[in-house]
């Protein structure tokens, strides 16, 4: 936040926002330039080149070619079904966490969020491990390479969004309104349908929009768990671009996906605004202790699907990483340091991936904090039109095809003045693009939560604008920024899609190394991948715990 801090220092007499023209310009210009150079330009380039070339398919094929149509159809329906399943699993847990107090609640809350912060590759790996453990790929129930495995992974990955966004909102709703309905003769179920659902609608729609977006552009999960018949637009872009070198079709699919995502992001942003507007009437109910055994049983049943779905794969991941020939041990972890064991698929000992990951994640976090912090300033203090453009624009990288982004970087940034093709900085830059939306979402509500009267009070007490900033705005911003830093760190640690195009063979990050290890047959390689996943999970959990520690108290956001 180094630059952001200087830029946000006020110089005028009005305590709200920076008055210096340089500061105001920097807040708007830096994020816009970053977005233009590292997102719009590469994406436009790849789309332009791709669409200009001749390929197997043209635009009409999107709607006529049977195979492409089935990809579009699968992408859509798996996203819809994944979202609905996630909602069904997450809603009861959201209610239990919002309404009740019980021992272990903090652990459940933290546990639920872990998969969301873990890269999709790890979730995929965890489900692989689960399938492995229970022998589900060759028994009567087959999960491996099925749609079920994909849906399951999406639920596990996204359930945190439902639990956190909807649960946070639910906790703000007055529970006496529910009790009134009950006293008027409504059964538990009717209270839920007639009273809770309508009141929760803004939170549910916003959360579902996010989940839908993640599932719609799912890549890592599809690549790891999907078979030939489970392809999303995203994974098809990858297949056309990488395996068939048909850039025209890849670009076509990319453009289509980007258009769909822009529409959905705009809708989600609008819906999310409504969340903020609708909160806060009536009394906020304090979570109640579970009193009767029936109530306890009901709460346990509400939490069970979420907890089991989240805990089981994580536990099996740990277990699989400890499996060695003839028992359990740390061989897989020890093997990470050797070059030979994985030489068929990796040029370096896998442990180097950990170092690479930590390094790139640190740089990506710094970039994300500077650009995201400035953007947050522009959104809070700047003109409404600018704020809206940044708000929606900075969300787009989340929903943009990783292939488009990765290839765009390689093609667009390979000639002077910006020749970065061989530079390792490409990876943190791409990861920062994904982390920035989260930084913005954490810092903006914190800055907005500062009561202007506090600034006025400080000014009246004789504080100069600089000191007002330092004593009023900065402590709040710094708290949010540290939470944002941990989030950005976790996200770039786990980023898989774009990184998979930019990582040099001799410098893989953890998710890349995992993917390579898993793509080759052999129990030893698989064991090492699991060990890497556990290390990554531990690193992310560390970052997540820091997020939990610094999370702004009243925020309803992620």
């Amino acid at each position: 936040m180094g630059k952001g801090r200087a830029a946000l220092t006020t110089r005028g007499n009005v305590p709200r926002g920076p008055q210096s023209r340089v500061a105001r310009l920097a807040m708007v210009a830096v994020p816009l330039c970053f977005f233009a150079i590292f997102f719009a330009y590469p994406v436009a380039t790849i789309l332009d080149r791709g669409l200009g070339r001749r390929g197997r398919h043209n635009i009409a094929d999107l709607f006529t070619d049977g195979q492409l149509r089935s990809v579009l159809w699968f992408t859509l329906w798996q996203a819809v079904v994944s979202t609905l399943l996630t909602l069904a699993v997450g809603l009861p847990a959201a209610r239990a966490l919002a309404r009740y107090r019980f021992t272990g609640k903090a652990i459940v809350r933290a546990l639920v969020v872990v998969p969301f912060a873990l890269p999709t590759v790890v979730i995929g790996g965890a489900i692989n491990a689960l399938i492995d453990r229970f022998g589900l790929d060759d028994g009567p129930v087959r999960l491996y390479h099925t749609t079920w495995a994909i849906l399951l992974a999406h639920v596990i990955f996204n359930v945190a969004v439902i639990v956190r966004v909807v649960g946070g909102y639910w906790a703000l709703l007055d529970d006496r309104v529910d009790e009134s309905a009950q006293m008027l003769g409504a059964s538990r179920w009717r209270v839920f349908v007639e009273i809770d659902l309508p009141r929760l609608r803004p939170a549910i729609t916003a959360a579902c929009a996010i989940v839908f977006l993640f599932c719609f552009t799912s890549f890592g999960v599809i690549l790891l768990l999907g078979g030939p018949r489970q392809a999303t637009i995203e994974s098809e872009i990858w297949r056309y671009a990488v395996q068939r070198t048909d850039f025209h079709t890849a670009a076509l699919l990319s453009a289509f996906q980007l258009g769909a995502v822009i529409a959905m992001v705009a809708a989600a942003t609008l819906l999310e605004r409504r969340i903020g507007r609708l909160t806060g009437h009536g009394r906020v109910a304090a979570p109640r202790r579970l009193s009767t055994s029936r109530e306890r049983a009901r709460a346990a049943a509400s939490l069970a699907p979420t907890v089991v779905l989240v805990a089981l794969p994580l536990a099996s991941l740990v277990e699989r990483s400890l499996v060695v020939r003839g028992g359990h041990g740390f061989d897989n972890y020890r093997a990470l340091g050797s070059r030979q064991r994985a030489s068929s698929t990796l040029l370096v000992p896998p442990i180097e991936a950990v170092r690479n990951s930590l390094l790139t994640a640190t740089v990506a976090t710094l970039i994300g904090l500077v650009v995201g912090g400035l953007a947050a300033g522009a959104i809070v203090y700047g003109r409404r039109a600018v704020a809206r453009v940044l708000d929606i624009g900075l969300m787009l990288p989340l929903g943009t095809s990783a292939v488009t982004l990765g290839f765009g970087f390689l093609i667009a940034l390979d000639e002077p003045p910006l020749d970065l093709r061989t530079s390792w900085i490409l990876i943190p830059l791409a990861q920062a693009l994904v982390a920035i939306p989260f930084v913005v979402r954490i810092v903006v509500p914190a800055l907005r939560s500062i009561d202007d009267r506090l600034r006025d009070a400080a000014t009246v007490l004789g504080a100069s604008p600089q000191r007002v900033w330092r004593h009023v705005d900065w402590p709040v911003a710094a708290r949010a920024a540290s939470a944002a830093a941990a989030f950005a760190f976790a996200i770039s640690l786990g980023e898989f899609g774009a990184t998979s195009f930019l990582a040099r063979p001799d410098a893989p990050t953890i998710p890349i190394a995992m993917f390579r290890l898993l793509s080759q047959p052999g129990a030893a390689l698989r064991g090492m991948a699991m060990a890497l996943a556990v290390i990554l999970g531990a690193l992310v959990m560390l970052a997540t715990l820091v997020v939990e520690r610094f999370r702004p108290r009243s925020s309803v956001s992620l």
Partner: protein
Amino acid sequence: MSAAGLEVETLRVGYDGKIALDGIDLAVRSKEIVSILGPSGCGKSTLLRAVAGLLRPDTGTVRWDGRDVTGAAPHTRGFGLMFQDHALFPHRSVGENIEFGLRMQQQPVDQRRRRVTEMLELVGLAAMGDRAIGTLSGGEAQRVALARSLAPAPQLLMLDEPFGSLDRGLRERLTTEVGELLRRVGVTAIHVTHDQDEAFAIADRVVVMHAGHIERIDTPLAIWRDPRTEFVARFLGHDNIVELPDRGRTLVRSDAIRIDETASTTDDGATLTGTVLAQRFHGGRYVTRATTSLGELVVDHARAIDRGTVIAIIIDPELLAPISS
């Protein structure tokens, strides 16, 4: 034992390791209005929630017309409950709020519509059925909440601090109005409040609660005249509890004590000498604090008296009430 109305027997509720209700016995007859009066935290709302079924008691029974409903779900009891902060459904109109309970009873549409109109007229909000909840004033919201809880014709209506969130003038007006309305409708009602004036204005009988148990059940007048315990006396706003040599601890009610500016200021059997400490003007009367040989006493008087003036205080021995320790 089977009787019409509500019977609560040896009800006990523990909450977070503390005892919220300890052995409550209470009977409310059909069409009777009972006020439960007590300071915050005395367990009065907990008692209401236990009767409503929103809270499961540890031990004890709740019976309605002789039928045990202790384990019944709240929505099957046919009781109504109205909260202090109204708890209206924010996503439904005034009319839809009132209609909700009727829909739950699966009444036909035209019957529901008639009943909603009838209820709106009853609470003086005719033609406001289409209004959004957010546009209502505090008093209007209160009336809607009342209409909503009365619409399904509950066997027992419970009101939890119904006027707590209103300003004083409105509260007094609504208290009278609601009391009359409840009697006109002829509903059995339990009303919870921490305000003795409100309880006295509405109730046939008042239940005074203290620290999870019932201190006293009686008519408003009987309780006011003879509170019996110091807690009840203090809670009802009585100021003068003194130690009399021949009677022991005694309550001197405000109607039993007066200042006589014409009487001589010598201490004899009938009068008491005091020195004015302070006076507070309280709309038409002066609340006067004076020191006497019995301790500090509070006496209402019609005129202002200078501080330090020696006055004669007359106590009517017929109206004294003993206080048990």
